[in-house]
Symmetry: C2
Subunit: 358 residues, 2 copies
């Protein structure tokens, strides 16, 4: 398996020479920084919007390997990034656990909220991997179909972020219900987090067995928590997931993305057990180079709105990131996902600019 490249007993293999992302995450020197972009597959691509029209139901889209494979491959054909990330959604886990979930146009996900520990009885782990098996099939097919130099990233939402959707019943600005449960009944809330930790380990384990070479944990709402709560519900769950996956798959590279972690980012990097950290757009580059890059690979962090702006402003911002982080372990990416009205030509210009650094 390709992640075995970090086994020190093995010489650099052909795989490492082909796949810049894996080489970088293993600490090898590459000809230029690898790049991929969060939400590179999705609504900014006209061919995605056409594909998406084939079913009205977003969950059905995620659970149909033909569609999910095609969605994953579309940006690879256009931009030839150094990695593709499985097309799926962080809320497939609550769906598999039996929490009713729907995606309403213009509103995003809507779930029947679980507001306290009593509500956990509505969830069941029975049969979740049969439910999620189309995702594993998608990974298997992608591993076979991707170009030789493109790494395959599996992913899941980190437990805190998934929990916010489960408790709020959807997206939220202040995560009021989730915080009130967590602050008021921390032991009860731990039970939800523990369940998500265990299920996420199994989910990512199966993605790796199916062919994912790297996994990323998205903690989109990590920036909502005070420090003690951040340690308990963001760092610790990621540490447990990363530890379990590395036990089963020694050398598997794991990328953490505690978006908005701000002043707690160093603590995350020191304790979460990840190989790389994805930086949101607010993280100062010189600080990241000085403090984080000696500890882990860093990934990021162009502002997605700068990609939407394009032109010379975007080119200057790309060059600045490359200049400040390109000297160490570095994966070029955005600080958050591509926004839907981003012109694909801007993404193509970004890809060309990074490739010319080779």
């Amino acid at each position: 398996m390709s992640w075995a490249i970090t086994n020190p007993a093995m010489p650099s293999s052909d795989i490492i020479n082909r796949k810049r992302l894996l080489a970088t995450l293993a600490g090898e020197t590459v000809d230029r920084p690898p790049f991929w972009l969060m939400r590179q597959a999705g609504r900014h691509l006209p061919e995605y919007r056409t594909l998406r029209d084939k079913t009205r139901n977003f969950l059905e889209f995620c659970y149909t390997p033909d569609l999910a494979v095609e969605a994953t491959l579309q940006p690879v054909r256009r931009y030839h990034p150094d990695a593709a990330i499985l097309f799926a959604d962080i809320l497939l886990i609550p769906d598999a656990l039996g929490q009713p979930l729907d995606y309403l146009a213009g509103e995003g996900p809507v779930l029947e909220p679980i507001r306290n520990a009593d509500g956990l009885t509505r969830l069941s782990r029975q049969g979740i991997h049969e439910h999620l098996s189309p995702v594993y099939e998608t990974v298997t097919r992608l591993a076979a179909e991707l170009p030789d130099d493109v790494a395959l990233i599996g992913f899941a939402g980190a437990p805190w972020t998934v929990a916010t959707y489960m408790v709020e019943g959807g997206g939220s600005r202040d995560h009021a219900h989730t915080k009130r449960w967590a602050f008021g009944d921390p032991a009860g809330f731990d039970r939800l987090i523990d369940l998500l930790v265990e299920v996420t380990i199994e989910y990512l384990d199966r993605q790796v067995l199916a062919g994912a070479e790297v996994v990323q944990l998205f903690d989109t709402w990590a920036g909502a928590l005070p420090e003690a709560a951040f340690r308990r519900w963001c760092i610790d769950p990621v540490r447990r997931i990363a530890g379990a996956l590395k036990n089963r798959h020694p050398g598997l590279p794991i990328i953490g993305f505690p978006r908005g972690a701000g002043q707690s980012l160093t603590t995350f990097v020191r304790h979460a057990g990840v190989d790389a950290v994805s930086l949101d757009s607010t993280i100062p580059l010189a600080w990241a180079a000085d403090v984080l890059q000696p500890l882990v690979a860093v990934q990021g962090n162009l502002d997605p709105q700068m990609l939407a702006v394009g032109g010379s402003a975007m080119a200057a911002a790309i060059d600045d990131i490359l200049a400040q982080l390109g000297g160490g372990r570095f994966v070029f990416n955005l600080g958050h996902g591509i926004v839907p009205d981003t012109p694909p030509e801007h993404v193509a210009a970004l890809a060309a600019r990074i490739k010319q650094k080779a």
Copy 2:
């Protein structure tokens, strides 16, 4: 004027002995940390909701000194905090500049957006201080009516945050239009920021002349920007405002609140020229004590959702903040405003807990 207490030529006055907030901001030792709470006046108080029903128009409410004075005083009567903050809104400045503004129930503020430098011609500084004169009258009356030991805080939105509302036409999750203007036409966007800097200086100068003893600049959306943009559009405008106000009013204490500044908070503190920094709830306490408190007074940072939870969890969180920050220059506050469904009894319990530390 009471802010003259920090003039080294003057001995500690009775005022400093009476007003814990001013003493703390001047670096004096006090019997216990002063406290006040962002949005202590407002919807969580039943008496505010009754007062608010007297007019359907929120702008009219802000521009009616009888109502604004009463709204400011209500939490002082209930909780007797160490400071009252003028009841007003950060969008009075765009309103005074002639940008049509309305507050829609459940939607918050709605403005006719200005999306580029051409739109600036729709703004005019003519007569803005006549327009804002009810605010100054409110400050004058508050200065006369507040208890002797309660300091009066004036405030304004910081230019970046006010600009986001002016450009987006209201609240926004990703500030897409504002960032695209700023990133794509930084010199044109500077003109909007420069206008806001100049007008904010005049606005706060008049608040101080009317009796405000401290001013706070709220940069609610500071956490949206990459580092270079944060320096240009968050730090630099605050530095210019603080510098101009201190020129006119030597010793005036100024509190900055760059919410979400995260890893850039130290840079803010070193360069913005403020006397105190208000910390959002994510800022680690030990770090703030080590790095920030030697430089400025710190204010914060209980999570408003913890105040909504109340009870022993809140008490423990308050004690932790007091233990970690109470040894230095410190003003107890929340990390963001009180949320509307917070029980007033929880706020009273918070006030009692801090007062018993004396």
